[in-house]
């Protein structure tokens, strides 16, 4: 455990040194080395905990409220540490080359980057409410500064503010949550809260606050408004870190709440399943309507958080209904998807970063044909795309299969609840999966395939080795987890001890069963790679295999095709966006065609976020209108301010003297 804290300390120290160093290259290198070393040190206790050992927590005395400052690592924390420890060093490595050596000094960027990494690790180990909130805030603020990296652009500043306000609305809910929890259990230590959990009265209210507060960070619909703003604005390695791992702290928070309160009623399970389905479907539908590659990926985070939440909801229902198969497969699928999503979403954000680095734009409609010049970026992006769409033979399929399997396992319980759950889960997962395939066909197909639509896309260059290495590693892990599917049952079993350990479930049967099933799945995956290769090579043996000619694409006899005639991303997604038009409310603007032989016309669509426009904008406008009269108090007149101070002092004096 001391190693973990030492690692975090090292990262903070590395960030401070980077701030002090004048040379950008040295600053980047220091920050990188400290992140790598810190994560390597932290990995030792994490692996030890996951392999079944228990570690003594570090207890420090501090002056606050008589409680102890405890840092500990249980299996749940250790599992969540895994993606953090993998993604952070890779993102740092990528960022070093992505940022390059601009005129501006990068020290402050690296300080906040290292602070973010360290605060996320500390958050997972903090076992004291006060410390939890402190590192939660450090995490929020440092990521705010990272989003604001390109603050000279107005849209980045706007995105930063949206994020800062959203995350603090969440924090307010968490402060109330922890205040109620602390006052009802008379303890601010997690251990103390668990010991006194019988004294909790307002369980329902606590869960509403927790789901709201942690949901803002995780990105539940409609609390997700900051994601599609902040992720595109941030530098790509920061988006990868935020979308891949930081939003998972919200999921961690909800799971931690469940272990703290120990409340696993069916209502909570249903609530989580419904929230998950809504987030999942709306996330992918909004992703379909986007033109900006990183904005599209941000909406997919909402979708995947939805899938994770469905899994967790199924697990909670499993506890409520006393069905070990649902507990194991639901929680297992949700947790594994946390890890998988971290891998492929970071991969996709890094790929998007390479595209924007190479072309200077992220507008899907302006790209095309990048595969020919960015081979490595394109093929790794393709693996990420197939994985996130839940397609075999990659890791996304494995975690979604867990949740599907949980759904159908419940059918055998022969009570109506699990069957209705199965119908909900299977239909929504199939719909989300189908739409995700559509969305990533669009994202990959329009950006990387066909012909370059603009000169920007034609003059692209491949990313350098330092940017490609993290992408190749992540793609490799996506493939590997697919092939090692049977072993994942051991990986997800560890955190289950913390989540459902006290309920006395026996998972041996279902674990064995799942491992057998995944044995077959992995076997099929292995054969898939081999036979595909055989079919591909067998074509070379045919009689006329070496007679290959090239020509233009078939264009129905048209004489002069141009790259602009290709299908666009908007047209590709149009049938589906039309299907969901009542949800999307896409704004279309077009000019009327004039005359018999019109030379010019234009058409423009924009899909603003329905939650932002429909829910939050009116609320904030209302608040603004109500409190704007108070502005008169801030008139800039110095004597007026002196009067305020005098009045305040007199009021305080009367108050103190009167009682």
């Amino acid at each position: 455990m001391e190693l973990m804290l030492l690692g975090c300390l090292l990262q903070i120290l590395g960030g401070l040194i980077a701030l002090a160093v004048r040379d950008n290259n040295k600053a980047s290198l220091t920050a990188n080395l400290s992140v790598w070393l810190g994560c390597a040190l932290a990995a030792i206790p994490v692996i030890s905990v996951l392999s079944g050992n228990s570690i003594n927590p570090v207890r420090l005395e501090w002056s606050l409220t008589g409680s102890q400052l405890v840092f500990g690592l249980d299996t749940l924390s250790a599992f969540f540490c895994l993606p953090f420890l993998v993604i952070s060093p890779l993102a740092a490595m990528y960022g070093r080359s992505y940022l390059g050596n601009p005129e501006r000094r990068l020290g402050s960027h690296w300080l906040f980057f290292n602070l973010l990494v360290a605060s996320m690790l500390l958050l997972l180990t903090a076992q004291n409410v006060i410390m939890f909130i402190i590192v939660w805030e450090v995490m929020a603020v440092s990521s705010f500064f990272l989003v604001m990296h390109d603050h000279e652009q107005e849209k980045v500043r706007k995105a930063g503010w949206t994020y800062l306000i959203a995350t603090h609305i969440g924090t307010i809910a968490l402060l109330v949550f922890f205040a109620i929890l602390g006052s009802e259990t008379h303890s601010l230590d997690f251990g103390g809260i668990i010991a006194n959990r019988k004294m909790i009265v307002h369980t329902g209210a606590l869960f509403v606050l927790a789901i709201f507060g942690f949901g803002v960070k995780a990105g539940f619909f409609p609390l997700h408004v900051w994601l599609p703003e902040a992720h595109p604005a941030a530098p790509s390695h920061v988006s990868a870190l935020m979308s891949g791992v930081m939003i998972k702290t919200g999921i961690y928070g909800i799971l931690r709440t469940i272990t703290l309160i120990g409340y696993t009623d069916a209502y909570l399970g249903w609530a989580l399943v419904i929230i998950g389905i809504i987030s999942g479907v709306t996330g992918v539908v909004f992703a379909l309507a986007q033109h900006d590659l990183k904005r599209l990926l941000a909406y997919h985070s909402v979708e995947n958080i939805g899938i994770i939440t469905i899994g967790i909801g199924v697990g909670v229902l499993g506890i409520a209904w006393k069905l070990p198969a649902l507990v194991f497969l639901g929680f297992g699928g949700g947790l594994l998807h946390v890890l998988n999503h971290a891998l492929f979403k970071s991969l996709l954000f890094l790929g998007a970063g390479a595209v924007s680095h190479g072309t200077g734009t992220l507008d899907i409609e302006l790209l095309g044909g990048l595969l020919k010049k960015m081979r490595w970026t394109a093929w790794t992006f393709l693996i990420g795309a197939a994985a996130i769409a839940g397609l075999p033979p990659f890791n996304g399929f494995i975690s979604e299969f867990y949740i599907y399997f949980a759904g159908i396992s419940g059918v055998r319980a022969f009570t109506p609840g699990p069957i209705i759950l199965a119908a909900f889960v299977m239909v929504s997962l199939a719909l989300i999966g189908g739409l995700a395939v559509a969305c990533f066909s669009k994202a990959f197909g329009i950006v990387f395939l066909g012909e370059a639509r603009t000169t920007k896309a034609a003059n692209v260059h491949e990313a350098d080795l330092q940017m490609l290495t993290p992408m190749v590693i992540l793609a490799g892990l996506c493939v590997l987890i697919g092939l090692a599917a049977p072993l994942t049952v051991y990986l997800v079993k560890a955190p289950l001890g913390t989540l459902a350990g006290s309920d006395g479930f026996d998972f041996t049967g279902i674990m064995h069963h799942t491992r057998t099933v995944f044995g077959y799945v992995a076997l099929i995956f292995g054969i898939l790679y081999i036979i595909s290769l055989v079919f591909y090579l067998i074509k070379k043996l045919l009689p006329r295999a070496n007679q290959v000619s090239t020509t233009g694409t078939w264009d129905c006899g048209y004489a002069a095709p141009t790259a602009r005639m290709q299908y666009t991303a908007s047209s590709f997604a149009q049938p589906l966006t039309e299907l969901f038009r009542s949800l999307l409310r896409t704004r279309k603007t077009s000019s009327r065609i004039k005359g018999y032989f019109p030379a010019n016309t234009e058409f423009h669509t924009e899909t603003p976020d329905v939650a932002k426009e429909g829910i939050f904008a009116p609320i904030f406008r209302l608040i603004n209108n109500r409190i704007s009269p108070l502005r008169q108090m801030q008139h800039g007149n110095l004597s007026g301010y002196l009067l305020y101070i005098a009045i305040t002092l007199i009021v305080l004096l009367i108050w103190k003297a009167g009682f």
Partner: protein, 307 residues
């Protein structure tokens, strides 16, 4: 795992191209023509294998790799498909999910290869394909859920052997609803009338055929063969559902299953001959209706079980 169970996927690989021969003969009969030979697709495949290849300048490795990936997915799906009372070589709980997702991977590869050519027509077809399948998949899974509930089995093998004559006597409405839903999904997924016209000659109106415009030689043979296998897989799922006679004698079961496949081809041929094509905008509505059929079946089952 019996050695004999490998015989079934093997014969599926051999016999699949026959289905389109039968369908075309039925259509020819209705149109008063003589029609092509029942073995026409075999001749076509053989001929294509001996042609030299042409690739578009716009394409990359994606279109060269796609036919192999697509065909692999479909061959693997054949390994999972049971024949009536006989389990498939690979069968496990939840195998139908893998089967559906293998078809999904095949579709992803088809769509990407279409976009690889940069053709507006192929983009159009790809766009329609992803739209229809996104709506069809939930309907297909709902049907499976009904059958899982009915048979109490989580794998295809149990589902296929679990639907017997007795079930058709006591739960006919349920099974008919699912069978109707699946029949329509089969037509949609295999680009048959009334969703897509395999004989159309206008690129603008096609779905599947337009996505494969730029293939030639061996690649096109793999694609055509893959399409035949896909029809076989969907037909097989339906045969397991609607032919309630299950045997544990190999040759009896094989004959019954093949008879069922023949029946399905006849049905498709007749449907294609007597229906007109739907407006493209109406296809999702019909697919959602297919889902509604399965949902009604699910509700009937729930009400019946827990009154």
């Amino acid at each position: 795992m019996h050695l004999i169970s490998w015989l079934f996927p093997l014969s599926a690989l051999l016999l699949a191209p026959l289905l389109s021969g039968i369908i075309n003969r039925v259509k020819a009969y209705f149109a008063g023509r003589k029609g092509p030979s029942i073995l026409q697709l075999y001749y076509d495949l053989f001929k294509l294998m001996h042609k030299s290849s042409v690739y578009s300048r716009s394409t990359s490795l994606v279109i060269r790799l796609a036919p192999a990936v697509i065909l692999t997915c479909l061959v693997l799906a054949c390994l999972i498909l049971p024949w009536g009372g006989f389990p498939a070589p690979v069968s496990f709980a939840g195998d139908f999910i893998l089967l559906i997702y293998l078809l999904g991977l095949a579709r992803f590869a088809t769509v990407l290869a279409a976009l690889d050519t940069g053709s507006a027509f192929e983009g159009m077809g790809a766009s329609r394909e992803v739209q229809f399948s996104a709506v069809a998949e939930p309907s297909l899974l709902l049907g499976f859920l009904v059958l899982i509930m009915h048979t109490g089995s989580l794998g295809l093998a149990g589902i296929a052997s679990g639907i017997t004559i007795v079930d058709w006597q006591i739960a006919a409405p349920l099974l008919v609803l699912v069978a109707f839903a699946w029949f329509f999904i089969m037509l949609a997924e295999n680009s048959r009338m009334p969703v897509d016209d395999p004989n159309t000659h206008l690129e603008l109106t096609m779905i599947h055929e337009v996505m494969v415009l730029d293939y030639s030689s061996a690649d096109f043979a793999l694609i055509q063969y893959g399409a035949a296998l896909k029809l076989w897989i969907f037909g097989g799922l339906l045969v397991n559902l609607i032919i309630p006679v299950k045997f544990d004698v190999v040759w009896l079961q094989a004959v019954t299953f093949l008879g069922g496949m023949f029946l399905i081809s006849l049905l498709i041929g007749i449907t294609e001959s007597i229906t007109a094509r739907l407006k493209l905008l109406n296809v999702p509505k019909v697919l959602v209706s297919a889902g509604a059929f399965s949902l009604i079946a699910l509700i009937i089952k729930l009400v019946e079980s827990y009154q």
